[in-house]
Symmetry: D2
Subunit: 338 residues, 4 copies
């Protein structure tokens, strides 16, 4: 529910109204608009109904929020949200964001060399898995905290922000000491205990869309994080499972354009995971830029045959550098810069 | 990899071979077959290759396990597994298992009355959510430990086994003091931290199939639990998301018949969640029996309009009793009894 | 729109009303109910609105038909439709129907031997493709009219009804001289020119569900046939494409139970095509019976390795006979007989 | 199978070899490569095997074609195919193609006004349905031949090429007198009788991907047309059905990039049908250009509320003009021009 205040309402009046709303058992948010004071109110139907008794002298209109997600909706918050990852790196602005790295951190040399290459090519963030269980328990499960240390060193040395995955509520606090942004992967998109847990920090969260999650479920998962108090959320489209099996996943760029109309959160695209075929990464990265994405997440490695778990979609250093050059005309066409 | 020993091999020889395999960095399992001693060996490709140097005097044949899942595969373990939930209730035998209860535990009267009705109708297990986040953070999230206490009391009073969901690794130990079987829901089917955590207990686990999980992913999720040492796993088919939207999910009974050919674990079916339409629950429950399921999980409540979160698929007491009567000829036709 | 007449209305009055409705540019159908005269009216929204001016002296109530399909809906026609294939074979009654045969007719001996075996095992219909293009133009395309002749001879000799596919509007008339029931396959389910063409005959039509057709689209395709005047339609569920790839298709038994609540047309199930795995055919055939199907369509052949295009799901003669025996207890449990 | 001839082989030798291949019961195609003479050979496995006895003096290598589609594959024909629609309009070149028009032709004024507007905005082709059955038999079915006449007049007057749908084999010949390119819609993509029928003409064919067709099935459908002798095929990606329901279809741009690597045929994209939401048409049109499409197909009309069957995705004249302007920077970035 959105409560639009009359033009003459002062901030002082608004604060009192916020308190009054709280007394009705509803969670209020004072939303500083440009022209008009607006209060958002979130709660159960029955409690929201009681708001109709609020003093009409201050209130111009009360409008329902029509989507099941509220806080992440543009109805609640019309302007694009910028998420600051660190002092050099903001996602959602006119600077197009690129995050890149290996699927899994393997050793100090690997992650340092990739970080250097990635930084030189124009990326701002370093990604890489350290807690990384595959679908089989017999696959490589990641280096854990040892990997986080190696990755932190490589990120600091190269001047990149560091993004890595969290999979267990028990690790949220300790991993937050290493990363600049948590990553929550597709398989945990509806792990609500984990969403709440990262929502109780102020660390930015990169939330990847589940492979069969609808856009509504995706935005509701973001709402779980936001509702705990953490507004620093970046959404990542990375493909859904469909009847098409040429590629393992089908990148859903409809979703990117659609989410940009419905939510104020920044959206990036992972064409590596979203295509799983190396030859498709570059054309789909261009397409992601063209349809309005705020950034890209890309899988890269240095030497093709030495990696432990990198896969078909992973770009070599040369492929990655070439891709970054080829993206530029499309970033310009989209009115952004690298 | 399965190592079949020569007929003349003694148990003593086999144990020494098991030790030898361990020395090769491979995890061995002595599998007492009926006619022949068999050793299963699980590990990385490279380690398994080294087994070719084992003494050929004792070994008749070494066969690869062709599926990515190993321990839960029939190739490894040909006979049906029986899972004992408590002293009165075993899943996987010729007694057809029925678990029923409300979507969420609401109060003492509700859960007691349902438990009584469910027991009288012939069910053996009581289900009900107490940690139960919906897809929206604004939906009812369950009563938590308070709900577990109410449910335990109702289960004990009525003589039913108790099944309830765990969603957070931090709760595994304390919830295990209440339940007779953990439930892991579709959304956490690939929450590997949680799978490992329940795998480190000996408490039975009801693992529900993810809404877009392939059968292979489903069995690999079970493998995660089994691989930690907990063999007490019951699989539950409850529908997948498809292009059909008449019902929210499409119950995949192909999967039930297929899993019975590939895995030794018992499989039950949840037609309430798998159809989400009350009128379809009874015909699909019959179909589940007919295609070889070991049991059913059903959602029921007592009064239609008073429930907090029960939904369209939930059966009233009368509907549930009638369903149990209607199932009997099909249970008989399948060569089982209630 | 359904117009329920007052109890005292005579048939004469009803006929005059039917004429009046026709004058409003709407297509009326006098539907002889058991207790009350009912008129169905189908047309565009605007024309239907004009019916509100009908004389209220005869009319008790006017109810909208809520589904987009009208003539095939239970709202229009509450009682189950029986479809007479020939004088010995009716689908939709308490006699459970079995249609079986090879994927494609290959030669006289093959189709005669299969017909004999199928008849002896208790089936009533012989199926087999003669116009049968595969997804590749290089696959066997069927024997055409030559195949129809061989099949007709085999059907007559064995006393089976004959069902074969039509794929081209130009062949509808000439194929109707051979078959007892047309088959329209999944790939032509929305070939509206073909649907209209078979709708203009009175020959029964077996309509198979498209691999990605929703139930609503399926029933609308049947409506296309019915709307041309042919009411002899049998629906066939044979699986949809989903994310599950263990079997090529996922048999959707939810759809069978759901269609039985929404439409008066008989529904049969093809577990051969719907599972594409031989081991799953028998359990899913049982499940189809249990959830309310009126019959089965099964693929069978005589010798496993000599067939031109039969595939993994095709049953050998022995498997088919055993299946028929195993189905009996489930047919009895469902209150039907073979 | 591809037969690469030795460098010294003359055209005369090659022709004799072609004849020899024909004698083996295989269909040969002399494929004039730039550096080397190449012969393609298509037929059944057994016949192809017999080719191993061909005289080795002329042959350098025989390579299998690894895809099930042959003639439309890049392995057979490495260079991009250009399809000439009329003397002014070629699809597949460095000129980016735009086809636009209403969903259905309604009357002379409507189609003339749209043609004028579309031409002025830079499009080269006029689309519009005249044989256009909807999924319901009660929806508007199109004006038929009357519509084709109106459309032909409008196309001639404005100087646009004309594209319209064929749905019945009986109409192929007469419709070919009106259109510059046949359109075959998603629902008829596997109507093999129709594919063969248009394949027997030399009229270009726009083949739209079925809503649940895999890329392989899509290319095999094109192969059906090509195999009859018609090489003038343009593929059109227009979305597939997935679990996402925000938009009715999910535009699959992975498919565009993938098909460009596998087939020499031009590929255009229909973002109107592929998104079904007006706000998404422009961003997805840009994305289609960016990932390598050769053109676009767009639905437009002139006045929003007067159309009979245009839907949510249809652009108004102003929206269409603005879209064309916004596409230009992306067309340039892709190295093409309008």
């Amino acid at each position: 529910m959105i409560i639009i205040l009359k033009p003459e309402t002062t901030h002082e009046d608004a604060k009192q109204l916020v308190k009054l709303i709280e007394d009705h058992g509803v969670k209020p948010l004072l939303m500083p608009g440009i022209e008009r004071l607006v209060i958002g109110a979130i709660g159960e139907e029955s409690a929201l109904k009681r708001l109709s008794t609020l003093p009409s002298t201050l209130i111009e209109a009360i409008k329902p929020v029509t989507t099941p997600y509220k806080l992440v909706s543009r109805e609640f918050h019309a302007h694009d949200t910028l998420v600051n990852i660190n002092e050099h790196f903001t996602i959602g602005s006119e600077v197009f964001s690129v995050i890149a790295g290996p699927r899994t951190v393997e050793n100090a040399t690997q992650i340092e060399d990739i970080a250097t290459m990635v930084k030189e090519s124009g990326a701002s963030g370093l990604s890489g898995g350290t807690f990384k269980p595959g679908s089989s328990p017999y696959s490589f499960q990641g280096l854990g905290y040892e990997g986080l240390k190696l990755m932190r060193a490589a990120a600091d040395k190269s001047g990149l922000a560091m993004i890595s995955e969290v999979i267990d509520t028990r690790d949220v606090e300790s991993i937050s000491e290493y990363v600049d942004m948590f990553q929550i992967d597709a398989r945990n998109m509806q792990n609500y205990a984990l969403l709440k847990s990262v929502g109780q920090t102020q660390k930015p969260v990169l939330l990847k869309r589940g492979l069969s999650a609808s856009i509504e479920e995706f935005l509701l998962a973001a709402e779980y994080i936001y509702n705990e108090g953490n507004e620093n959320i970046v959404l990542c489209e990375q493909g859904i499972q469909t009847i098409e099996n040429a590629a393992r996943n089908t990148l859903d760029l409809n979703a990117v354009a659609y989410i940009k109309t419905k939510s104020h959160l920044p959206v990036i695209v992972d064409p590596s995971y979203g295509t799983t075929i190396r030859e498709l990464v570059t054309p789909l990265a261009k397409a992601a830029i063209a349809c309005g994405a705020d950034g890209l997440m890309l899988e890269t490695h240095l030497k093709l045959n030495e990696s432990v778990s990198d896969e078909y979609q992973s770009l070599t250093a040369n492929q990655f550098k070439r891709l970054m050059l080829e993206l530029e005309p499309f970033i310009s066409a989209a009115g952004k810069r690298l």
